[in-house]
Structures are given as C-alpha cells and as structure tokens.
C-alpha cells in the first residue's frame, strides 16, 4: 500500500558560487496517493527540492526515483508533462483565456479538440470554476480563482504527481482556508501523489499526510505524520518551529467523528426516573440529557430529576451546545467551554450522535496516533 511514488536519495544541491549547499543529503519517501508537505524557514531549500523533482534544477549529487525509475534517465519534457506543477506566482499565461491556459499540456500532447474541451469542462467543474469564466483572461479573475486555474492547468493531463509551491501564499486567510478545504476534497477524489511546499505549519498539518520539516541548508529535521510531529518533536529546532500551542494544533487535526461513541448522561424521554437517577449518580453529572425519537430534546438539571415522577413532563433547557461529526476537537472544545453542562452534543444529521466531554478530548490527546 505505502509503495513510494517519489523517492529522494541523498539529494544534494550546491548552486554555482555558493558556499553552503541549498539542499544537503536529503532522503525522503513520498508514498503513492499521499500528500507530503515540505516546510521550514525561508531559504531552507523547499523550492529547490521541488524543482529538482521535475528537473527544473539538476541535483549536484544524489538521485530521484519516480515510480522506481531514475528521473534523470527520462526525457525531461516527458517527465515534466507527467508532473503537474503549481508555482507560487501562479504564472498563468496572461494573453490566453482560462480555458486555453488549462488546455496547455493537452494541446502539447496533441489531444483532439473534443477531448480537450471535455477535459477543460471537467476540470472547471472539479475546481468550481464557472463556465462563463472559461472565456475570460487571468487578470479578470480574483486571486483565489487564478489559483484554481493554476491547479486545473497542472491537473489537465491527469498527471499522477502534483507539485505545489506555496499554492495558497498569495490569497487572504479566508480564501486560503477555503482553498485548503478544496484541496482536501480534491485529493479525496483524485488520490494524487502531492508534494506541497508551505511556510505555514497549520496549513502543513491540515493538508498533509506526512510533514517534512527542513532546516537551513535543506537539512531534514523530522519527517512524520502531523499528529506525531506535533506530539513528539524530534529536537529543539522542531519544537520551536511548531510553536507553543502544539496540543491545540493537534486538536484541530482530529474530528469528533473519530472519537469512540460516548452516550453520556442521556436517556430517552420514556425511560424510568429511577434509571435516570442511577445514571446521573454513576456519571456524576449535574445534568440529564433527554432524547425523543433519537433526536436530542434538551437538558434537565439534576435536582429536577431527583423529584420527578416521569421524565417527559420535565421542563427542558435548549439549546444544547452542539457539534457535528465533522467538527474538529478544537471546535468541540470551544463549544464545551461555552456550555453550562460542560458537554457538547453531537448532531449527526439531525440524530443524536452521542456527546463529547473534556475527558474524552484529554484521553484522545494522550493517545498517540499510530
């Protein structure tokens, strides 16, 4: 399964006239169909590494294998056409329309007209570009739209590998978040092998399956899954780079839906009050949650339950602090902090989907992801 699509072996690049190498003895395996983020301080050789993969920069020594084959043995044009590259400056052809831009590589590959049009339409759909925008020129689009066109162009001939150099660097934070989400959704469907360069650790841990943290001189400090990286930084440099709120960052990676199901102090309206009293005692909870037809119906304070004859007559307090299975644990924590009951109710498409407590979040953090 974890077969590697790109393997960097002892890769070193020393530019002419430079004292120190830009990249030194870098070895890295990029598994097929996964996203790897290259991150590190400015000038640490991220772009250089990316450019060596499609041979825009030739390595001084070391080797790059793509699908087990030495990249330097392949004709350079053919190699590049099999690798989509989104550069930081986007670099759309300003004198060509959006659809001409997207069709660049298919045209070089001499696809017939019908196939090209079909592919352009498909990519526009995939990246959320309006048909009406296809006839426009790049300078008539917003920064975020230009980025999408850049990605569409890189994907045009359906290359198995996608290289992205700070693809969301030039857009505002809101658009940036949306583009990151779109990349995740895209990757869910396409399963490309992606190497993405970024400055932003939050972006790296969000979009990547593995994060490679480089130091100046292209020295690999740590290569790990985001959760491992945040949980156990290999050294002081990594720790410093990750920042103070590593655990909060980890929370942003995990989803409510990944937690083991926890029903919490919640019962159906029809249950016997005695059962409720027993449950509250066990759970040491000050509040009882009630459901009706599998929907969460509200909270009742413990003292009411203690004197109640039936549960369904009790006045209930809404709204409950709610989260969804797709919410991050970080969001769940915020909801809990703002809730009087100290419990977030999971709303699973209208149905009651259990609860999230601080205790669950704490034990999830303690559990090191594999």
């Amino acid at each position: 399964m974890t077969e590697c699509a790109i393997r960097l072996l002892n890769l070193t690049k020393r530019f002419d006239g430079e004292q120190e190498p830009a990249v030194s003895a870098l070895s890295l395996d990029v598994p097929r169909g996964r996203t790897v983020a290259l991150i590190g301080p400015s000038g640490c050789g991220k772009t250089t590494t990316l450019r060596m993969i499609n041979r825009l920069v030739e390595p001084t020594s070391g080797r790059i294998e793509i699908d087990g084959e030495d990249a330097s043995a392949r004709p350079v044009a053919e190699l590049r056409r099999s690798i989509g590259y989104v550069i930081q400056e986007v670099g759309l052809f300003p004198h060509q329309t959006v659809s001409q831009n997207i069709a660049t590589v298919p045209r070089m590959l001499r696809w017939d007209r019908g196939r090209i049009d079909e592919r352009v339409a498909e990519l526009a759909d995939l990246l959320g570009l309006e048909t009406e925008q296809l006839g426009r020129y790049p300078d008539e689009l917003s920064g975020g739209q230009q980025q999408r066109v850049g990605v569409a162009r890189a994907l045009a001939a359906d290359p198995p590998v996608l290289l992205m150099d700070e693809p969301f660097g030039a857009v505002d934070p809101i658009v940036r978040t949306r583009l990151q989400d779109e990349l995740l959704a895209l990757q869910e469907r396409l399963r490309k092998t992606i190497v993405i360069v970024t400055h932003d650790i939050d972006e790296a841990v969000k979009v990547a399956d593995n994060v490679a943290l480089l130091n100046i001189g292209g020295k690999l400090e740590q290569y790990a899954a985001p959760d491992d990286l945040l949980h156990s930084p290999a050294n002081a440099f990594v720790e410093q780079f990750l920042g103070e709120d590593r655990e909060m960052k980890r929370l942003a990676l995990k989803r409510v839906g990944d937690l083991p199901f926890e029903r919490g102090p919640v019962l159906d309206l029809g249950a016997a009050p005695a059962e409720a009293r027993a449950l509250l005692g066990d759970a040491r909870s000050e509040w009882l949650g009630l459901t009706q037809d599998e929907r969460f119906a509200g909270w009742v304070p413990r003292e009411r339950v203690d004197t109640a004859a039936t549960l369904d007559a009790l006045p209930r307090e809404l709204p409950a602090a709610q989260v969804h299975p797709g919410s991050t644990l970080r969001e769940a924590m915020e909801v809990i902090m703002n809730s009087r009951t100290s419990v977030a109710v999971i709303d699973d498409g209208g149905r009651f989907g259990g609860v999230v407590t601080l205790e669950q979040i704490r034990s999830e953090l303690a559990r090191r992801a594999s």
Partner: protein, 248 residues
Amino acid sequence: MIPLPFAQAAVPRGIGLAEWLVDVDTWLGRDGILSSGLDTVTLCAAVMGTGMLIAVPSAALLAHSRRGELTATALVTLGRAVPTFAVAALLVPVALRRGWGFEPWPIFIALLLLALPPLYLNTYTAIRHVEGGVVDAARAMGIGERTLLLRVELALALSVIFTGIRVAAVQVVATEPIRAFLGGDGLGRYVRDGLGQNNDTLIIGGALLIAALAATTSVAVSVVERLVVPHGVRRLKQRTAARRGSVG
C-alpha cells in the same frame, strides 16, 4: 569635387503650393512625386526589413537566455547619439572607393544604424520583462525552449516590439530625405531643389510630403499591428494603458 549626377526638378518660380500639388505633372513622370515617393518607400522598407531580421531574432535569443545586458545598455547610449547624416556622408567615399556606386549604400547603412536600437531594445526589454513566473510555469509544464520563446515570450512582447517598429519606421522615413543631399533622389529632392532654386513652394511642398509620409507610416504600422497581434495580447496593452491613465 564630385559631379552631382541628379537632374534638378524644374519648376517655374512663383507658382503657388496648391497649384503645384494639383498639377498632374508634379505627380507623374520620372521625377514625379509618385516615383520619388516609391524610391523613398522602397529604401525605407528595405532598411526596416533588414533591421527587423537582424535585431528581433538576436534580441529575442539573447533576452531569452538572459544574456546581452551590456549590448542593450550600449545600444541605449549609441541609439541616442548616432549622427545619421555624418555617418552617411562618411560612407559616401567608402562606397565609391569600393565601387558600390554613389547610392544607396551609404544612406542605407546610416538608416539601418538608426533603426536598429529601437528595434533591438524594445524586443530585448519586452522579453526580459515577461514575468518570471510565467516562464517558469511554462518550463515546468514541459514546454520546449523554442515554443516558449515563440508562443509565450515573443507573443507577450509583441505590442512593445511593434512600438519599436513604429518608432524606427517613422524615424527612418523622416530621415531618409537626407539622401537627396548625398547624391540620391527620393522625396527629399523637392526640399533640396527648392533650396537650390530659392523656391519656397518646392521647399514647403517637399517638407509637407515628408511629414505626410511619416504620419502615414505610423498609421500603417498600427494597422499591421492590429492585423498581426492576437486579441489576447492586444487587450493586455490596452489594460496597461488604461491602468497608467487612471493613475495619472
């Protein structure tokens, strides 16, 4: 002293400008405006053709490979300083000694030197100013160097190259009449003859003809530009102009 081989345009003294310009004989015949104008246009076209063949490809290749910065700087200085008349005059004895005849080599070379700097510089700078990201992206997609130069760099430089062509062509057309003072004919003959005969009609008429041809040249280059430059490139130029305009 070298004997001057040309015939003087014989115009009776005292005839008015309008009268001269509407006279059929002024236009037709061996010494007529049409024939002289054709001489001028032919020479200018030859100069421009040669100039473009030399300047555009060499500037494009050097700019593409990011070399030739010094040539470009040198040409800026030189371009402003070439004394066309002096160059042509100095070349006359050389041409005669080599047996090339009086005409039109000296003026051809002098005009070529006048045309080269704007052609070369505009091509060079326009290509150098194509955004690095665009070129990078093209290479990253596996576009070959030749296609990159032709389809991307030259295409994007086209408007600025045409500006260079227009500047060079107008300069060449406006300067070509000095040929009449170097043993040749062409449109400059009327001014020359007018001076020789102290005939104001000829001087003013000749000057007007030269000005008219220069203006026509400018328009003609623009027409060709419209026909040759693709829409996508042309609109970029308009946008730049609009942006400049709005800033002030």
